[in-house]
């Protein structure tokens, strides 16, 4: 992109003072404080990373800064002037624009319509000028170097990574002075992240202020100029990038010392029998001829580039894919495919992709959620035994060390980390044999990640079979005994023992792409 000109360098210098400042900001939701007296300041010409555990207040702060929420107390200053950001369009007019974690795109509108949403060019009678709109979008795409997305495509037809790019273009369409990116990389692959970072650096060099939120330490290290840590709704520290100390940060985020490394991995017992046998699993375009086996006590990773069928494989094993052919056997017994209740009965457990919305019933109590998958065992003549239910819920709470005032508390009132634990507790009560983890640590903070790692090792040590699909390469290395690499809906490679390295997995994911035809 463009190199920094002397004029631009001078502008950047002049904006070394705070471009955006939040002073004493507080925000409550219901009875709980998301932000208490929080301060934050960001300069022009820098990429400022915001760190913090889930629930620490980063997203709330960011939503206030771009006008989605109004603060209960405190002031916002832009270039020294106090402003009132009444709504996102006003904020955009003042130069603050944001890219969100939960995509704000409308699936059934086109790319162009989404990008210009709420600020479309209009003519005399309030009619949207379609040609002008498309022209503006095309110009924007040119500036950003996006050439593979057509403005007339419906967003619903775009891959997740492309949707994130459109989201970013949308934020940039307001030509902001301050750009906020909230977990904007969660759906992107390596190439796209690289391109995005290039873009952000260019914008920074132009003197813009960038606020970046991420949970991925590797990314943070690469891109940050300064970092701020939030915990419990307040700012607990701001440092320059050169003073970066990962362990120190994690301690700041969690308020306690936590090991970043993986828990010790129990070696697989030599005589461990085959528990799971999958043969010629096929489902049209969704899965192509998958065969593999796994042993009791094994942690088997399912790796590959995004969207190669890894998730669908797990879903298929859990009965979420219909018209599946092939055979699946668990401990020698054939499993009937195609519905989750049959899978559950056979002993499969799926920890879903989005635990909060797919794994829990938010308004229901802790007790009701923990027993939701195992009610059959608590029921006689169709009626639930209250005493046994409470007993089971208690058991679940203790097993996962869930911190709550009582089992009658609604799950939505629990912290993010605790909510994740409830999902696990629910499934542990079903006595499953094969645990399928669908990208368990995406968007999850460090403390909860560690808890997941420990859980996986515990399950393996107890003789369960674990299949792990994750987008974090380091987790394959740290947790898995074996790794299957998928490409184009097939298994193309298998790594075990010392061969499991991040480089090895990556090359197996990419390398097989050039090969014609898959394995038998």
């Amino acid at each position: 992109m463009h190199a920094s000109s002397p004029e631009q360098a001078e502008t950047a210098q002049g904006q070394a003072d705070a471009a955006l400042e939040a002073v004493g900001v507080s925000k409550h939701f219901g009875g709980t404080a998301a932000l208490s007296d929080a301060d934050f300041s960001c300069r022009g010409g820098e990429i400022h990373v915001l760190l913090g555990a889930n629930g620490a207040g980063k997203s709330t702060l960011v939503k206030i800064l771009c006008g989605v929420y109004a603060p209960d107390a405190g002031t916002i200053r832009l270039a020294g002037r106090e402003v009132e950001l009444r709504d996102p369009i006003r904020a955009a007019q003042l130069g603050v624009s944001a890219v969100f974690q939960e995509l704000s795109l409308c699936p059934h509108l086109t790319v162009a319509e989404n990008i210009m949403l709420a600020h479309e060019p209009v003519g005399r009678f309030g009619q949207i000028r379609t040609r002008a709109l498309r022209h503006q979008v095309r110009t924007l795409f040119e500036r950003l170097g996006i050439d593979h997305i057509r403005p007339t495509t419906l967003v619903a037809h775009l891959a997740l990574a492309d949707r994130q790019l459109v989201e970013i273009a949308k934020a940039l369409s307001h030509d902001p002075q301050t750009l906020i990116v909230d977990e904007g990389t969660s759906a992107l692959g390596h190439d796209e992240v690289r391109r995005l970072f290039q873009l952000l650096k260019t914008l920074r060099d132009q003197g813009k202020a960038i606020i970046f939120i991420s949970h991925r330490m590797a990314e943070v290290r690469e891109i940050a100029d300064r970092l701020t840590v939030f915990r419990n709704g307040t700012n607990v520290g701001t440092v320059d990038a050169q003073d970066f100390d990962e362990e120190r940060f994690i301690e700041l985020m969690l308020g306690e010392r936590v090991q970043q490394s993986f828990p010790p991995r129990a070696p697989l017992p030599r005589d461990a029998g085959t528990s799971l046998q999958v043969e010629r699993l096929r489902a049209g375009e969704v899965l192509r001829d998958i065969s593999f086996s796994a042993r009791a006590g094994e942690v088997l990773g399912i790796a590959g580039l995004e969207g190669q069928g890894q998730g669908e494989l797990l879903l298929a094993l859990f009965g979420m894919i219909r018209r599946l052919s092939g055979s699946v056997s668990l401990n020698g017994r054939r499993v009937r495919l195609g519905t989750p209740w049959r899978a559950k009965k056979a002993g499969f457990v799926l920890i879903p992709e989005d635990r909060k919305t797919q794994g829990l019933l938010q308004p229901l109590s802790l007790r009701e959620n923990i027993v939701m998958a195992s009610l059959d065992g608590l029921t006689r003549v169709g009626l639930i035994s209250g005493a046994r239910e409470r007993e089971r819920a208690q058991h679940g709470m203790q097993r996962m060390e869930i911190k709550a005032a009582s089992m009658e508390v609604a799950v939505r009132a629990l912290s993010g980390g605790n909510q994740q634990k409830v999902v696990i507790a629910k499934w542990l009560e079903t006595g499953g044999e094969v645990f399928l983890f669908y990208d368990p640590t995406r968007g999850v903070d460090v403390g909860t990640k560690r808890a997941f790692y420990e859980l996986i090792e515990e399950l393996a040590a107890a003789g369960k079979t674990v299949l792990l699909y994750t987008t974090e390469l380091s987790e394959f290395v740290g947790l898995c005994h074996r790794v299957l690499v998928m490409n184009d809906r097939r298994i193309v490679s298998e790594l075990s023992g010392d061969d499991i390295t991040e480089a090895g997995i990556l090359s197996a994911s990419i390398g097989a792409r050039s090969a014609q035809g898959g394995p038998a």
Partner: protein, 323 residues
């Protein structure tokens, strides 16, 4: 997205608990007002009458409550009710025994209900449209079955007793209502099916991913609703000593209103039958009061609508995305 840590929050949404309570308070207030205006109102004879009329709506509300808790709606009641009633009386007139006629009616009603669930569970068509279509279909079926002639007035004696008789001074429809009400209360709060019902209304995907067949839950809810329509039809037949084509007309939206007034959320996932009972009684009371005060049809409609809105403003508000 930040998830604030909260102090203890009860599992029941606060407003829902409020809704049921408010509806009962409202019921008492309304009744007191009516009695003030007309002391005759508080007589047992009058209360008995109101309860008897309420029983028909209340029985339909049993099924409708279940359906609404799952987040759906059953608008096929009017013609399901009418057809099953006419079926029963026709079979009886043709010489079948009372038992067979009644059983056939109940069976058909339930089957219609089950067919309703196919729209939601299999085709994923919103029940609003599907059950409306079923209603139209059942109207057609009824007309064909009766060749558009007035149906027979040949009513089995048992049915006459069921609809118009009383046991120990209590109208039989009321007893039937009580039995069904007790059954549904147990179902909702103590049974596994009831638990799943609330789960489906809350988040069907999460329930499905917990390994539960949500389609069966829809099947059960709509089947009960169809069954209740048939029961109501049979009782109504006994009450009026005849069946007629317009039997079901009053039962399209009124039971829905009763359920909503009782505090059950139209989007599903919360509420219960306790509220539907008071909702039913409020509706019946309103209709009766408006009749005695001699406001003509126009006023009745307007007041009914206004009251629903006022009640909803009180306890039917949703937290929207804009929050």
């Amino acid at each position: 997205m930040s998830t604030p840590i909260a102090s203890k929050v009860s599992a029941l949404p606060a407003w829902m608990r409020q809704g049921v309570t408010i509806s009962y308070v409202l019921l008492l207030v309304l009744f007191a007002l009516a009695a003030l205006i007309n002391p005759h109102y508080a007589s047992w004879a009058n209360i008995r009458n109101l309860l008897q009329i309420g029983a028909f709506i209340g029985i339909i509300a049993v099924g409708q409550t279940l359906v609404i808790i799952t987040g759906q709606i059953d608008l096929s009641i009017p013609w399901n009710l009418t057809f099953t009633a006419i079926l029963m009386s026709t079979l009886f007139a043709q010489g079948y025994s009372t038992g067979v006629a009644v059983a056939a009616a109940l069976l058909v009603g339930t089957l219609v209900g089950m067919f309703n669930s196919i729209g939601t569970a299999v085709f994923r068509i919103h029940s609003l449209v599907w059950t409306l279509g079923m209603n139209a279909l059942m109207e057609g079926v009824t007309l064909v079955y009766t060749h558009a002639q007035p149906p027979k007035s040949n009513i089995p004696a048992v049915v006459r007793t069921l609809g118009a008789g009383d046991i120990g001074g209590i109208p039989v429809p009321l007893l039937v209502w009580a039995v069904l009400a007790a059954a549904v209360l147990v179902l909702l709060h103590k049974s596994r099916f009831g638990r799943y019902l609330y789960a489906v209304g809350n988040n069907e995907s999460a329930l499905f991913l917990s390994g539960v067949d949500s389609r069966k839950i829809y099947l059960g809810a709509f089947a009960v609703s169809g069954f209740c329509a048939a029961v109501a039809g049979i009782l109504l037949t006994g009450y009026s000593s005849q069946t007629y084509l317009g039997m079901g007309n009053d039962y399209l939206l009124v039971p829905v209103a009763a359920v909503i007034i009782g505090g059950t959320n139209i989007m599903g996932g919360s509420g219960g039958y306790v509220g539907s009972i008071s909702g039913t009684l409020i509706v019946v009371l309103l209709q009766s009061v408006l009749s005695t005060v001699q406001i003509h049809q126009a006023g009745k409609n307007i007041i009914f609508g206004v009251i629903i809105i006022l009640l909803l403003l009180l306890y039917g508000r949703e937290k929207r995305a804009a929050d």
